[in-house]
């Protein structure tokens, strides 16, 4: 019963970590830069959000399978079979949740006033320091929203995961897969428990992150609100 829960959390956390790192770099570059082909690239990034998961699963199978370019290389060079392992589930989850992270983070970066970065430059700060001390903290609420959404999406990934990782209990069987096969084989009680667990889990994550962002991260916004209220009374 607990196997799918632990596996799901593991897969979603690793997927979100990947999405966070890649998503920040890509969205930061896309928010400010302008180059030929940007629209095409952006459409490709968003595509996994609108395509049926089975299409993604098919694409990933071609790419990661034993005879695929990536899967074949890993098998030959490292004797590592990616397909039907929990790593394949991580990749499927990362691909479907990436657009959510990308869109939130890109909007958040674009919303940071350029003159603040300029001011930091005239004060002698290098680009990395500017990113860490100005851009990232100011964009953080939006990035956090992206993290919450991608985590929830990664946790609920079903179609592509089934195609590339299969349904191997204890190995690749995440909660959504376990629910589906429990229902199919008539184990209603097991399905109901898993449904309860994933619903509570998702709710708790969203609730906690919302609360956290409101109370811990935006001190300066809170101060402004309290001041405005004080000024009115």
């Amino acid at each position: 019963m607990l196997d799918p829960v632990i596996l799901s959390l593991k897969v979603a956390l690793v997927a979100v970590a990947l999405v966070f790192a890649v998503g920040l770099a890509v969205s930061r570059a896309m928010a400010r830069g302008d180059f030929p082909g940007k629209n095409v690239l952006e459409s490709l990034i968003i595509l996994p959000m609108v395509l049926p998961p089975t299409v993604l699963g098919y694409g990933l199978l071609i790419l990661l399978g034993k005879r695929g370019p990536v899967g074949g290389f890993l098998l030959e060079a490292f004797d590592f079979q990616l397909i039907f392992t929990w790593w394949a589930a991580v990749i499927a989850s990362a691909v479907v949740s990436f657009p959510l992270m990308y869109q939130s983070a890109k909007a958040a970066f674009a919303g940071v006033d350029v003159s603040l970065e300029q001011a930091a430059r005239t004060l002698g700060a290098g680009e990395l320091r500017i990113f860490l001390t100005v851009t990232l903290p100011l964009a953080w609420p939006g990035i956090l929203a992206g993290l919450v959404l991608s985590f929830a999406r990664a946790l609920g990934e079903f179609g592509a995961t089934l195609m590339v990782a299969g349904n191997i209990p204890g190995k690749t069987q995440t909660i959504p897969l376990a629910i589906y096969f429990a229902v199919e084989s008539g184990e209603t009680a097991a399905a109901r428990n898993l449904v309860l667990i994933i619903t509570l889990l998702s709710f708790a994550v969203v609730f906690w992150l919302n609360w956290w962002s409101r109370h811990k991260l935006q001190v300066w916004k809170k101060e402004r609100v309290s001041r405005a209220e004080g000024g009115n009374s």
Partner: protein, 229 residues
């Protein structure tokens, strides 16, 4: 001594100015769209001219002929932005300390301590507040303190008083003048207000559609040099 020769082309406007400036307050005066802010940005290193050269006290910051373009962070030019550009997530103290390199914190190697700057600008009591809790005049003082804290060799001010009410503007005008005399570095100030220009300028460049139309050295200048000696 600031020497600048800036050519920059935009759709609709071509900026083409050359000037030298030694001390006091130089006012760039002109209507909006005459290229004033672009000139400040080029001096600060936030934009590059298409051609020309910029140097300060003998150090070359930009030269199209020698292919030199020193990045903004290495120029030590203070810049007070039109809308102050204070970091909203940092307190007044953290804002003003932002430009001080880590190894210099504690005042070593710096002419003037952080507290002195805050005191001079009368914002010591505000140091734990966030920018959103400040009035326009207070924000302006914080922006000035932040820019001066890095001990710049030149201070640029983009419409520093335009967002203030009448009383604040009058006070700050006088203080700016005083600050320049204390700090002894040249100020380059952009404005479109004739009155501000008359009160502050030691030297004036009139800009029209990106071109220098006139340079003026008001009588004030002689007086100001006597004051600063």
């Amino acid at each position: 001594m600031l020497k600048a020769e800036i050519h920059k082309q935009y759709p609709g406007i071509t900026i083409d100015v050359a000037f030298e400036f030694e001390r006091g307050i130089l006012v760039l005066f002109g209507p909006s769209g005459s290229g004033k802010t672009t000139i400040l940005d080029c001096i600060a290193g936030l934009q590059q001219p298409d051609a020309g050269c910029i140097s300060l006290n003998g150090k070359s910051f930009y030269s199209s002929a020698d292919r030199i373009a020193v990045p903004a962070r290495k120029r030590r030019i203070g810049y007070v932005f039109q809308h102050y550009a204070l970091f909203p997530h940092l307190t007044v103290k953290e804002n003003t300390m932002y430009g001080i390199p880590k190894h210099c914190k504690g005042g070593k190697g710096y002419r003037i301590g952080a507290l002195d700057v805050l005191e001079m600008l009368k914002i010591v009591h505000l140091q734990d507040r966030y920018p959103s809790q400040l009035s326009g005049g207070e924000k302006q003082r914080v922006a000035l303190a932040r820019a001066l804290m890095v001990e710049p060799e030149l201070l640029l001010l983009d419409e520093p008083l335009s967002a203030l009410d009448h009383v604040n503007r009058k006070n700050l005008q006088a203080e700016l003048k005083q600050l320049q005399r204390i700090w002894m570095i040249p100020f380059v100030l952009v404005t479109h207000s004739r009155r501000e220009m008359q009160r502050l300028a030691d030297e004036i460049i009139f800009l029209d559609k990106g071109k220098k139309s006139l340079s003026v050295f008001p009588a004030l200048r002689r007086q100001s040099i006597e004051l600063s000696v």
